[in-house]
C-alpha cells in the first residue's frame, strides 16, 4: 500500500475489474463484462472528465493558494491564482492562536479510537452473522441494518444531558463512546466474510477443539484483513469529519478539528487567509490518506459503502 498503488499498471487495473476482492457471487458476472463490452473513451469524454476533475480539485488547490496569501490580498479582485509567501506564517497562526494544534491531536486520538473500536466490533459481529448459527440471527441482522435509519439528531438532547450529569462534557470519551460501533460496518464485514471465509476452515479448527476466540484470532482476523483495512479507512474519514455531536459535546477548550474550524469560521474578527490555513490543516491528514490509500478507499466504496 504505497503511492504506486494509486496508479497501477494496466494489468493491475484489469485484475481489479475482474472483481478480485469483491464478493465471489458477483465475480463471474464481472469477468464476463470485463471481456467485451467496454468502449474506449473518446476525446470528448476525456475533456468532460478533466472538467469534473478540475471542479473536484480546484477548491482544494485554491485553499492552499489562499492560505499562502495575506488577508488584504484575498479581499481584492481578481482573487489570487498562484501561491504567495505567507503559507507558513498562516499555518503557524492557525496552529497556535486558533488552537488547531490541540484540535489536531484530539481529532487523531478520537478518530483512531473510533476506528479501532468500529473495526474490531464490526468484524466480530460480522463474523457471527456470517458464519455462526444462533437463535434469532436473521432477525438481529435485520434489526442491525434497520438501525441505520435512525438519525443522530434524535439522540443528542438526552446524550447532552447525561454527559453533562456525568461531568463528561468537554471530555473526548463523550465523542468516542457513542460512535464506537457501526451498523454499516457490521453489515459490510458480514457481506465480506460470507464469501471470503471458507466454513471448512472454521470447522477444521473447531474439530481440533479451538475456542471461539482462538478461531477469531487465527482464522477470522487473517481472512478479514483486507476488508478490515478498507472499513478502517472509511471509518477514519467519517470520524474525522463528524460534526454535529462533537460541536454539542465539546467546546473551545478541548475541540476536535471540526469544532475548531467552526470556531474559526464564526469568529468575530475573521482573517480569511488564516481560516484557509486552518481548513487546509484540518483536511491534510485525510488528503494524505487519500494519496496513500486512494485505491483501497475507492474499492471499499464501490463495494457498497453508505453515506455516514
Amino acid at each position: 500500500m504505497t503511492i504506486s498503488d494509486v496508479t497501477p499498471p494496466r494489468a493491475g487495473a484489469e485484475k481489479e475489474r475482474a472483481g478480485a476482492p469483491g464478493p465471489a457471487a458477483r465475480a463471474p458476472r464481472r469477468r464476463v463484462m470485463g471481456a467485451g463490452k467496454q468502449l474506449h473513451a473518446g476525446p470528448l469524454t476525456y475533456t468532460v472528465l478533466v472538467l469534473f476533475a478540475l471542479v473536484s480539485l480546484a477548491p482544494l488547490v485554491w485553499t492552499a493558494i489562499a492560505a499562502s496569501r495575506t488577508n488584504t490580498r484575498l479581499a481584492q479582485t481578481p482573487p489570487p491564482f498562484w501561491f504567495g509567501g505567507n503559507l507558513f506564517k498562516n499555518l503557524e497562526t492557525a496552529w497556535d492562536q486558533a488552537g488547531l494544534g490541540t484540535a489536531m491531536l484530539n481529532s487523531i486520538f478520537v478518530s483512531s479510537m473510533i476506528t479501532v473500536g468500529t473495526v474490531l466490533f464490526s468484524t466480530l459481529a460480522g463474523f457471527a452473522f456470517a458464519k455462526l448459527r444462533f437463535r434469532f440471527s436473521t432477525t438481529l441482522l435485520l434489526l442491525t441494518i434497520g438501525t441505520m435509519m435512525v438519525p443522530p439528531q434524535l439522540a443528542v438532547v438526552p446524550l447532552y444531558l447525561w454527559m453533562t450529569d456525568l461531568g463528561w462534557a468537554n471530555h473526548l470519551q463523550t465523542v468516542i463512546l457513542p460512535t464506537l460501533v457501526s451498523a454499516f460496518g457490521t453489515f459490510f464485514m458480514r457481506q465480506y466474510l460470507v464469501q471470503a471465509l471458507p466454513s471448512e476452515l472454521i470447522e477444521a479448527a473447531r474439530v481440533d477443539g479451538a475456542s471461539s476466540l482462538r478461531v477469531v484470532w487465527h482464522v477470522v482476523f487473517p481472512a478479514a484483513r483486507p476488508a478490515m483495512a478498507v472499513l478502517g479507512l472509511l471509518t477514519f474519514v467519517m470520524a474525522w469529519n463528524d460534526f454535529l455531536w462533537p460541536i454539542i459535546a465539546l467546546n473551545s477548550e478541548n475541540p476536535t478539528v471540526q469544532v475548531a474550524l467552526n470556531q474559526l469560521g464564526t469568529g468575530y474578527i475573521p482573517d480569511d487567509s488564516v481560516i484557509m490555513a486552518g481548513a487546509l490543516l484540518g483536511t491534510l491528514p485525510l488528503l494524505l490518506a487519500f494519496l496513500l490509500f486512494g485505491k483501497q478507499i475507492v474499492g471499499g466504496i464501490m463495494q457498497g459503502a453508505i453515506k455516514g
Binding site: 479582485t77 443522530p152 453515506k307
Partner: protein, 346 residues
C-alpha cells in the same frame, strides 16, 4: 461473556500464543488446538466449557453493537420523545416540568419552523437532484475503458475526504459577494454579480453547491459499481437492434440501475434532511439563524439554535422528533413510488 473470558484466559496461557496472523496461521491453530484434548483429566469440564463457548460466543460477538447502540441511540431516542413533552431549559437542567404537547404546539405555530421545513426541502432538492444526475453522468464516463482509470476515480472522490466544515469555509470565500471567485467569473462572462449571502435562492444554491461538490464523486462510484455488474449481452443485443450509445444508456443502463438509483435517492434524502454543517458555517456569525433573514436555516440548524443558542432543550427535542417523523414519511413515500415504478415497468 463469561465463557469467552475463560476461553481468553486459556488461550493466553497456552505456551506460544504469539499473534500469528500470517496466512499460515490458520494451520498453526489447527496443530496447537489439538493439544488441550490430550491431557484428559479435565476433559469433561473442557467439553462442557467448549459447548458453552459455542453457544454463547455468537451473542458475545454481537453484544458490543447492541449494547452501544442501545445505550447511545435507542434509549436516547425514547428519552428525546420524553423530553419533548417537558419544559427543559439549558440554564436549569434539574428543573424539568411536564409540558404535554406545549412544545409541539409552540413549534407548529412558529413561522421559523415552517420556514426551516421549506428551506430543508428546497435545499435538499437543489443539492440532491444535480448531485445524482451529475454522478450518473460521471459514472457513465468512468465506465468507459479509460487511461488511468483508478486515478480518475481517486481524483473524483477527493472532495469526500474534505470535511463539511473545511469545504464550507472555502466556499464562503469563493461565494463572497465582493471579492469572490464566483462573482468574478460571472463578471468575466458579462453576468451581474449575485449576492450569495443575502439573496434567498442565491444563498440556498451556494449552500447546495457545497453538498453537490462533496458527494457527487462518492455517488458516481456507487453507480459505477452497479454499472459494472450489468451483463454485457444486454448491450450487445441492444447494439444489434441498432441502439446508439445514448439509447443504450437510456434503455439498458438506467433501467438496470434503478434499484441503485433508488438507494442513492433514499440515502441522499436522509442526508439532506439532516443538513447542518454547511448552512451553519456558511452563515458565519449568524450561522445558527441560517443567515440574517433565516433564508437558509434548515431543520437541523433550527434544532441546534433552539436547543443550544436559545436554550430550550424541550423544544429542540420536539424538533428532533418532527424531523424523524418527516423522514419516516419520506421513506414511506419512496417505498410507495418504487413499488409503483416496479409495477408499471412490468
Amino acid at each position: 461473556m463469561n465463557g469467552s473470558d475463560q476461553a481468553l484466559a486459556r488461550s493466553a496461557s497456552s505456551a506460544d500464543a504469539a499473534p500469528g496472523d500470517q496466512p499460515g496461521a490458520a494451520r498453526d491453530a489447527h496443530g496447537r488446538g489439538t493439544a488441550p484434548r490430550k491431557n484428559g483429566g479435565t476433559s469433561a469440564w473442557r467439553r462442557r466449557l467448549y459447548r458453552w463457548d459455542m453457544k454463547a460466543s455468537p451473542y458475545a460477538f454481537i453484544a458490543p453493537f447492541f449494547i452501544v447502540f442501545g445505550a447511545f441511540s435507542l434509549v436516547p431516542l425514547l428519552y428525546t420523545a420524553w423530553y419533548s413533552l417537558h419544559h427543559v431549559q439549558l440554564s436549569a437542567l434539574d428543573q424539568q416540568t411536564w409540558a404535554g404537547l406545549d412544545n409541539y404546539r409552540n413549534l407548529f405555530s412558529s413561522e421559523f419552523f415552517w420556514n426551516a421545513l421549506k428551506n430543508t426541502f428546497t435545499i435538499g432538492l437543489l443539492s440532491t437532484v444535480p448531485q445524482l444526475a451529475a454522478a450518473l453522468w460521471l459514472a457513465h464516463m468512468l465506465n468507459y475503458r479509460l487511461r488511468g482509470s483508478t486515478v480518475w476515480r481517486v481524483v473524483m472522490l477527493t472532495p469526500y475526504a474534505t470535511s463539511a466544515a473545511a469545504a464550507t469555509l472555502v466556499f464562503v470565500l469563493l461565494f463572497a459577494p465582493e471579492s469572490g471567485m464566483v462573482n468574478w467569473a460571472l463578471d468575466l462572462v458579462g453576468l451581474d454579480p449575485v449576492n450569495w449571502r443575502e439573496s434567498g435562492w442565491g444563498s440556498q444554491a451556494a449552500v447546495s453547491s457545497i453538498v453537490v461538490w462533496r458527494w457527487t464523486g462518492y455517488n458516481a462510484l456507487i453507480y459505477l459499481a452497479a454499472m459494472q455488474a450489468i451483463p454485457t449481452d444486454l448491450y450487445e443485443s441492444a447494439a444489434l437492434d441498432g441502439a446508439g450509445r445514448w439509447q443504450q444508456f437510456r434503455h439498458v443502463t438506467i433501467p438496470m440501475l434503478r434499484p441503485t438509483i433508488l438507494f442513492t435517492v433514499v440515502v441522499s434524502t436522509i442526508g439532506a434532511t439532516q443538513l447542518f454543517a454547511e448552512p451553519l458555517l456558511f452563515g458565519g456569525v449568524s450561522g445558527t439563524k441560517g443567515g440574517s433573514e433565516h433564508q437558509y436555516q434548515t431543520l437541523g440548524l433550527y434544532m441546534y439554535d433552539q436547543g443550544w443558542m436559545v436554550g430550550n432543550l424541550g423544544k429542540a427535542s420536539a424538533i428532533a422528533w418532527s424531523m424523524f417523523l418527516i423522514l419516516l414519511v419520506v421513506a414511506a413515500l419512496n417505498l410507495l413510488i418504487s413499488r409503483r415504478l416496479k409495477r408499471s415497468s412490468r
